[in-house]
Amino acid sequence: MASGCAKRGGCPSDYVAVSIAAICFLVLLSRSVLPCLIHKAPRNNSSSFWIPVIQVFSSFNLLFSTMMSINLLQFKTKHWWQYCYLWSVWVEGPLGFGLLMSCRITQAFQLYFIFVKKRLPPVKSYVFLPLVLLPWIFGAAIVQAKRPLDSQCHMGLEWTLPVAGLNALYVLALLAFTRAIRHVEFRFDELRDLWKGILVSATSVALWVTSFVLNEIHTDTSWLQVTSRFVLLVTGGILVIVFFSISSHQPLLAQISFKNRQEFPRMGLALGIHDSGLLFRKEEVRPVDPNEPLDKLLLNKRFRKSLMEFADSCYAGETLHFYEEVYEHGKIPEGDSIRRIYMARHIMEKFIVAGAEMEVNVSHKTRQEILTTQDLTHLDLFKNALNEVMQLIKMNLVRDYWSSTFFIKFKEEVAMDKEGWSLSPPRMSLVQGSDDPFYQEHMSKSSTSRYSSPS
């Protein structure tokens, strides 16, 4: 019996392996999809969204093609879709393991450029990924042309070794990129994740290649056949899960949008830039003079908030949000290049890139200057853009703001506060505040303005 099922497939251990692989894939799928569903993460079209999707896709390909190509399941009749070259060459290679490794290498490449070279990668990831994948496609094409596979989908030793070599080469490439960025002190454990990823993938690739080689060469030893293909599929399953779980790519995005949204509503806070020291409470109560220069006025947090509400109400809020984040960017000490890079990249992706969530209205030249910068840590990276945006605020928004209800409300608030400050202890206004329908909103939006409007 053993020899029969070893050849045709369908041994008990094979079914166990298939179930394990299926479970692995389901776990992977739930890990990748659930956070998006639960936290309703905004979907964007950047590589941070597509690379994980491609990873899931290639993981499925890898597992499914392994299952198909090593005779795990017993089929009564041979179907046309059981075509050997399709599964064991194309889907397993370029669309499976090759794609999975290429995704990882792309991520490491991005990290390398951003943090070591301190500029944005010269090649977009949607160009880089196919480039990295090219050798796999060539390899598959050669195999397809030379047709070395026998009826059991096995290739001989002379073919197995180069294939295993290609696999190992990609692990080595990943290793090389990781070595290059090992000195960078990442804020969010990217490096540790990357090392873990390499360790896991190297181990499973070693195991996998061994069983692959054994499976390919010793086609006549039936116990070896059954065991090796069991190991092959199970390692594949574990590999894809672990590989996906250790996310080295933009862990920040995950940090902010999934886990710590309550704790870190903004990038600045996630990076530990605090808004303290900006204002003293006494200053806050100071009335605002419209003739003062805008950059001075904006330092008044109360005023800024009121202006921001006004800008939001006429769909121009991105200008002030940009101002705030660039302001925070400016507060990072000069020597702290890693934090500067994080913040700079965040600002670029949120405000500068064409089609960004809160793209600001700046000229082509300024945008290009920022996106092609040779130094992501540069102090004046956003200077020109901020200048343009400030002009926009000055000539457009502020002029209308002075005659808006938002300014009237702001003046009232300041007047009330002045009284409240001198007459009642701070706690009083808290009590008053609970009657105010807008109180909740104020509190949630800004934690420092404790004196909400008893309007």
Binding site: L294, N361, S363, L392
Partner: protein, 383 residues
Amino acid sequence: MGLLCSRSRHHTEDTDENAQAAEIERRIEQEAKAEKHIRKLLLLGAGESGKSTIFKQIKLLFQTGFDEGELKSYVPVIHANVYQTIKLLHDGTKEFAQNETDPAKYTLSSENMAIGEKLSEIGGRLDYPRLTKDLAEGIETLWNDPAIQETCSRGNELQVPDCTKYLMENLKRLSDVNYIPTKEDVLYARVRTTGVVEIQFSPVGENKKSGEVYRLFDVGGQRNERRKWIHLFEGVTAVIFCAAISEYDQTLFEDEQKNRMMETKELFDWVLKQPCFEKTSIMLFLNKFDIFEKKVLDVPLNVCDWFRDYQPVSSGKQEIEHAYEFVKKKFEELYYQNTAPDRVDRVFKIYRTTALDQKLVKKTFKLVDETLRRRNLLEAGLL
């Protein structure tokens, strides 16, 4: 508001509050009724197509206009325009001098070099000083430098605003200590709009109060601004689409790889395809005719891909007319391609405009008003 009300209706059992809710409901209905008479107009179009100039004209024509305070508030804007323009020209000249085969053409005279550097530095500041006589003289000297003039003639490659010549010719007046901008100055002033601005007006003037009431929305035209437009798309009576026909040889402010006319074409196409606008009248303003008629004799229309098949026929006035008709036909074709006969339930009119020309805008608006009222009557079955 509506949301708030419906929520309170769900959550209250108290009769008192119910009565209050009913009252609110009634008021909303009343307001909605009043709102029904107000016709919603949208000014759409790519960046720098003249939407805000039209908007300012409407303010001048059908509202109280600008009082002295408002006029004065334009002083910093106009001065900023001057500084930004001269910086743009200066920096452009430097760039051309570096990259062109004939750098001498773009080299400033040595005494103007220092003035240029100084003005460029001011233009890069966040806060500009008030334009003084001294500064204005410096700007004028620089403006008259052949290199700057040479650069200005290639203004389409830089993002030089249309008002450049106007500003430079009026420097003396603009730098006066007691300078108060004129209506014309305000119309020429270039401010990039961001977000949405609205006014309400009735185009019939004061003697006849029975006219339609319009609410006009002005928006920013750059790409990032356009995604805000959809917030306004519901219940629009008419879209006034501004297309600057003089910009066929210029590139976008936000993307210098893209020809402005091609962008306008795509944008108009997109607007016409909006399901919200199936019953919305489209008023196409082929704007900046004043610049167009000067430019078209020097720069052939077919530099723009969309007008590649244009063949000039004659010269002078005839040629201008011919070119204009060609452009108009292109827009017409685009409109009919996007308006299937089974849902031709909207009015389409094309107007030749120069947003700076107050009389022309007034006349055009009268026509727009007439068209919309006519359509209104048609819909009510009275005509």
